[in-house]
């Protein structure tokens, strides 16, 4: 069975069996290795990607359910040479230790900042609660999200970039 979906803005046809979780399709068929396999049980968030702008666990998302839907992964944000505002904030706050959770953290945080440009601390914490970091860099991750929110607001107010 072929499933047509949009991945990072480009239309893709994927051929994996319909019960295959999106995470495996991204990593094994499409070659996008940003999203990570953590627990496979929707408990840790390492596999978080955006589906139609909402953060979801790609390890529990059968690809057969995704006909016509929009998937965005960390590869859709920026590159090593030209990181997005949020990716740069994670760098500047040195929010990664081992880094395994970070792609998921970034995709969850980006989903919040896309909807709420000025989230308060409680909103950030409530939103990020679903993703875990076993190294314990949560405080740096929260700082990075706050830093990115501030940076995005000032870019928007200067009218330079989205």
């Amino acid at each position: 069975m072929t499933v047509r979906l949009t991945i990072n803005g480009a239309e893709r046809r994927v051929e994996s069996p319909p019960d295959t979780p999106l995470l495996y399709v991204l990593r094994d068929e499409v070659g996008l290795n940003g999203a990570k396999y953590g627990c496979g049980l929707g408990q840790c968030g390492a596999c978080t990607v955006q589906l139609d702008g909402r953060p979801v666990f790609s390890c529990l998302l059968p690809v057969g359910a995704l006909e016509g839907r929009q998937v965005r992964t960390v590869e859709g944000l920026g590159t090593a040479a030209s990181p997005s505002i949020l990716q740069r904030a994670f760098e500047e706050e040195q929010a990664a230790q081992c880094g395994y959770c970070i792609a998921g953290m970034i995709m969850r945080a980006q989903a919040l900042l896309d909807r709420v440009p000025d989230p308060d601390e409680a909103a950030i914490r409530a939103h990020m609660q679903a993703n875990l970091c076993r190294c314990g860099t949560h405080m740096r991750i929260l700082r990075a999200v706050r830093r990115a929110a501030t940076a995005m607001r000032s870019t928007v107010s200067r009218g330079t970039a989205p």
């Binding site: 319909p18 408990q43 666990f57 998302l61 409680a122």
Partner: protein, 422 residues
Amino acid sequence: MKPVWRHLLIAGLAGSVLAAGVALALAWEPAIGRVPRPDPAGFDPAIVARGATLATIGDCAVCHTAPSGAPYAGGRALGTPFGTLYATNITPDEATGLGNWSPAAFRRAMKDGVRRDGEHLYPALPYEHFTHVRDDDLDAIYAFLMTRRAVDSPAPPNALIPPLGFRPLLAGWKLLFLHRGPVEPVPERGEAWNRGAYLVEGLGHCGGCHTPRNLAGGEQGRRSLAGGVAEGWNAPPLDGSAGGWSIDALVTYLGTGLHSSRGVAAGPMGPVTEGLSQVPAEDLRAIATYIASRTGNAAPVPVQERAEEAARAHPEGAGLFAGACAACHGGGAPMLARNRPGLGTATPILAADPRNAIQAVLQGIPAPVGPDRPFMPPFSDALGDRQLAEILAYARARFTAEPPWRDLQESVTRIRKENTRP
């Protein structure tokens, strides 16, 4: 207009004005004067500790704490069929909380639903139940609340359907639905049962969710614990009409949020079990003793496992289940370790109404309170209505012998829409 009509009209108007006047007079309650905020050091620590337990049994913090807010500082929205009410601040803050309330004002609020300033309180504060609580217990709760940290936090204004913002109307509601007086002891039932009856019918206010309400929002007294609705979830019947429980099973379920052959506390029941996990064992057992006497102890239904038939009937649901659910709910899944219940024993999937099963997949089951409580992620953003309906139809066919749910997809659509309302 003919004179006779005019006279009748005038008489009618005069009668209405008189009736309204009498009603307002009946609705009137005096203010109870402000008192200086009591010194926390003046309360007996033993009474404060007893008040802490009673406040936990009464679930005060569940409603009176906003998400991520300070405990007891209020602000949590409570959606009702009549509009949205906001829980008030019950910390001892003088400007926005109970700081200037006397013990008498607190007792009156709990037993009669009247605010210190004489205004009527909405029955979202379950004074239908709290009216049965003994004064010494209310005084202990008062001591506990008055020794909390004062938080300056005014409650947002309520948003109710007109004319329900007019509080004197509540006096009429109370005439119909507020039945004062103690829970009558039944000596031959023994001490634990009587303690349980007092806690369940009083502070525990289990009927607040588990008893059906009439159109005016009053509990249907003759259908006590026959099952109700709370915040978009069904509160299952506790009167034996939907299965029985043993005392031991209830102690485990209520005290941990989890029973290996009964399921997991989800929705508004999660915070209830979180509270009950902290109450003294004898009170928990008393509550279980009383509830078990109401449910009866019929054996749970035998667990079904009919994967092949279910897959033939719902091939799409089977594929979606394999990709989205089987990692936790399939055979041999790690999530089923540590005595966690299989889907075939979960009450939502056995229920005649799919509402709670739909809510569990849409909203998930939030973060655990104990080490063994599972966390189920929400699927509302991941899967569409038709896909969720396929999964639920497959799971119902695979894990139960119950008839298929009808109009499942329409129900998913409707409940998803309900969940987006504040």
